[in-house]
Amino acid sequence: MDRRTALKNLALVIGSTALLPRCTSHSSVAHFNSFDVTYDQQSLVLDMAETIIPKTATPGATDLGLDKFIWLMLDDCTKTDDQKAFFKGMGEFSDLVKKTYNKDFADCTKQEKMALLSTFEKKPGDKKDAKPANNYSKELNGFFGTVKGLTVFGYTESQYFMTKEIVYELVPGRYNAMYPVKNNMKA
């Protein structure tokens, strides 16, 4: 299957499993079991996800609908207190963007977005368990951590990633105990 057909199939899959209420206008609010999300909030999360896993020669967060997965996980798998902290962190994030660039995240350039999100990351060469060198609140760092964690989780568990980036076989049929890496097979 070539990449284009793959993507077409992928769109079908995503379309059919879309669990998110569709929004029709900018003012529309998505209703979840435990919270409502404004259009701006939806765009922000999608924008962040796309910055973390951008479209390159291969699909990115938007193509893969990863934002839908993030909201679903936040709705179903996150405790009320953690949801509250998430939204608090999200508010602080918007303030941070404003303070830093004097505009909304959506209006930032790709470089600005990257630069800002990088402040949540550890420095090159830092230890695995090192904390990022920022003075953000727990909620703010937590908000980024959740968006990033779910974006990456959604990406690496997506059909696209598991069938095109690595090779996932439902039924490997064999165990090869020493397989050269260049074949990029993950079973």
Binding site: I52, M114, Y175, N176
Partner: protein
């Protein structure tokens, strides 16, 4: 013969109940297997077995609702989205924890044979003798030679893959070809086995009830490692894949799901059981079934429950309670302690396929004259693998380059966790709590058991040895874990109706017969007199087959 009369009744359809049904029906006995839960049909009802990871809405994870509904199961790895229906409904079937006891149950045809981890190891004479030699509990009424032919019988039929390693403490069995170690495990094994050559420590491939060659009606393992969803190939041992079809093929088996056995009916004139009472879990009606023999295979704690709930004016504390040991001497394996670390090199090596098995280090402590500050020992299970993806190098933590890096295999790791023997303490027990009722108005079990000094001392070795051994094999950045031990978490409940030589101190005789009612056989983990440290289910299979054979011989002789 009324329609409710059979030659044999089997209570429970899990690993041991399935074996009882197979053996009894193959020997010509008309048998009814009573299972409290729903039916699960082989292949057809494994609804999630063929789903890809991305087809699960939460990718296999847990929702807040699941955590609310399964307050016990959520304490460890079993709570997950992919096989949620295989775990007991905790609201319907509660129990009382006097002390924390993680009881992970499955109530349906097949019991936990559907979800089990399949590691299968024989016991050794050391395990049968230690109680007597050390004055712990009571002596096992049997020795390895009594069980040896039945181990072979069980292994050949169930299909156990393993290597004939010649480890003295871990007798080799009738194995199918072993699974392979991956390249890191092979190298670690070579270093380990050289380093500990004189110490009789061994690093071997796990012995698992996944078949590596076809058996009738079953395809060899396809390395999917999705066993606990049910296997469409029938490649691992379960009631559904193995014992049930064999029992059905005889034409002698009736399976009745939704049948909660509430008591065994004791006849004081014959001093035997005449049958059982069943509460239909769906319509709440009560039925009686009659038979010449009853096999109790409801799993360790539930078998004790059935016996205790069978109290009569003669046996006010339950059938089999004359010794005062019924419900007592509850054991498990204590775990949650071990070590892991990073393995350098092998960057160009990977493995293909998902091996549903790991490595094993059999017990080596307190053998050959060694005396630690505790008695008995432990084994380790573990394995090496490569982090799936996402080296997550800080320089590349967001953006396109990061995305590409996610598809690169990560570092090699190796880890292992101990399974420690727990001693049979009389005060570790379960009993009926008549004040708490389940969904059907039946009294529930209260469980009161903890690890004690011997286990705590052993855990220090379990942690320190793991670290030392990994470091001796060149593993880097070794980290140790040693969590608070919680009984039940080993999912190897044993004891509660132990075998013994003396009716005054044990519930069952050498043939798993209840001393107080000789036509009642308890052959699941309840019968265990000590726990050893090997995963126990293979031993239940062998004990069940042995007891079934004896039961039929005794029936023929007119002794029961």
């Amino acid at each position: 013969m009324s329609t409710n009369t059979y030659d044999a009744i089997v209570i429970g359809s899990g690993i041991s109940g399935g074996w009882a049904a197979k053996e009894l029906t193959e020997k010509g006995l008309k048998t009814i297997m009573l299972e409290r839960g729903r039916d699960i049909k082989h292949v057809k009802d494994y609804v999630n077995a063929n789903k890809a990871p991305w087809e699960f809405p939460h990718r296999g994870g847990r929702t807040v609702q699941m955590e609310k509904d399964y307050p016990v199961l959520k304490r460890d790895y079993p709570l997950n989205e992919t096989n949620l229906d295989y775990w007991v409904n905790e609201k319907e079937s509660p129990y009382v924890e006097i002390k924390r006891f993680d009881w992970f149950r499955g109530y349906h045809v097949g019991g936990r044979s559907l979800m089990w981890g399949r590691q299968s190891y024989r016991w050794h004479d050391v395990n049968f003798e230690e109680n007597a030699k050390q004055g712990i509990g009571v002596d096992w009424p049997i020795r390895y030679k009594d069980l040896e032919p039945w181990y072979s019988h069980a292994e050949k039929f169930a299909g156990i893959s393993g290597n004939r390693d010649g480890v003295p403490i871990l007798p080799d069995g009738d194995f199918m070809p072993p699974m392979e170690m991956n390249c890191v495990e092979k190298d670690v094994a070579a270093r380990f086995n050289a380093y500990y050559k004189d110490k009789d420590r061994h690093f071997i491939i796990g012995r698992t009830a996944n078949i590596t060659k076809p058996l009738p009606g079953r395809t060899n393992c396809q390395y999917r490692n999705k066993c606990w969803l049910g296997c469409p190939f029938g490649a691992y041992f379960s009631t559904q894949s193995s014992t049930l079809p064999a029992a059905m093929a005889t034409g002698n088996l009736t399976v009745r799901p939704w049948s909660i056995v509430t008591k065994i009916l004791y006849d004081k004139d014959t001093k035997k059981a005449k049958g059982v009472e069943v509460l239909d879990a769906q319509n709440n009606q009560t039925y009686e079934y009659y038979a010449k023999i009853v096999f109790v295979n409801a799993s360790t704690l539930n078998s004790a429950w059935v016996l205790m709930n069978s109290a009569t004016d003669i046996w006010p504390d339950g059938l089999g309670s004359s010794s005062g040991e019924l419900g007592h001497n509850l054991m498990d394996h204590h775990l949650g302690v071990g070590a892991g670390g990073r393995v350098e090199g092998y960057d160009d090596k990977y493995y293909f396929g998902r091996r549903a098995n790991g490595i094993y280090i059999p017990r080596y402590r307190n053998l050959n004259g060694e005396k630690r500050d505790y008695i008995r020992g432990f084994g380790y299970q573990g394995g090496a693998g490569r982090d799936e993806w996402g080296r997550s190098i800080p320089e590349l933590s967001i953006g396109g380059a990061f995305k590409d890096a996610l598809a690169e295999p990560g570092e090699w790791n190796i880890g292992m966790g101990g399974f420690g023997e727990t001693l049979p303490y009389h005060e570790n027990r379960c009993y009926l709590d008549k004040n708490v009722k389940d969904h059907w108005g039946l009294p529930v079990l209260a469980i009161d058991a903890t690890c004690k000094d011997n286990e705590m001392k052993m855990r220090k070795d379990m942690a320190e040895d793991a670290k030392e051994m990994l470091e001796a094999c060149g593993v880097k950045d070794v980290h140790v874990f040693n969590s608070e031990p919680v009984l039940g978490r080993g999912i190897h409940e044993m004891g509660t109706a132990r075998m013994g030589r003396d009716p005054k101190t044990s519930v069952l005789n050498e043939w798993n017969q209840v001393w107080d009612a000789k036509n009642v056989f308890v052959t699941d983990g309840a019968c265990m007199t000590s726990a050893a440290c090997q995963n126990p289910s293979l031993t239940y299979m062998a004990l069940t087959a042995r007891a079934a054979n004896h039961a039929v011989e005794e029936l023929k002789k007119g002794n029961i």
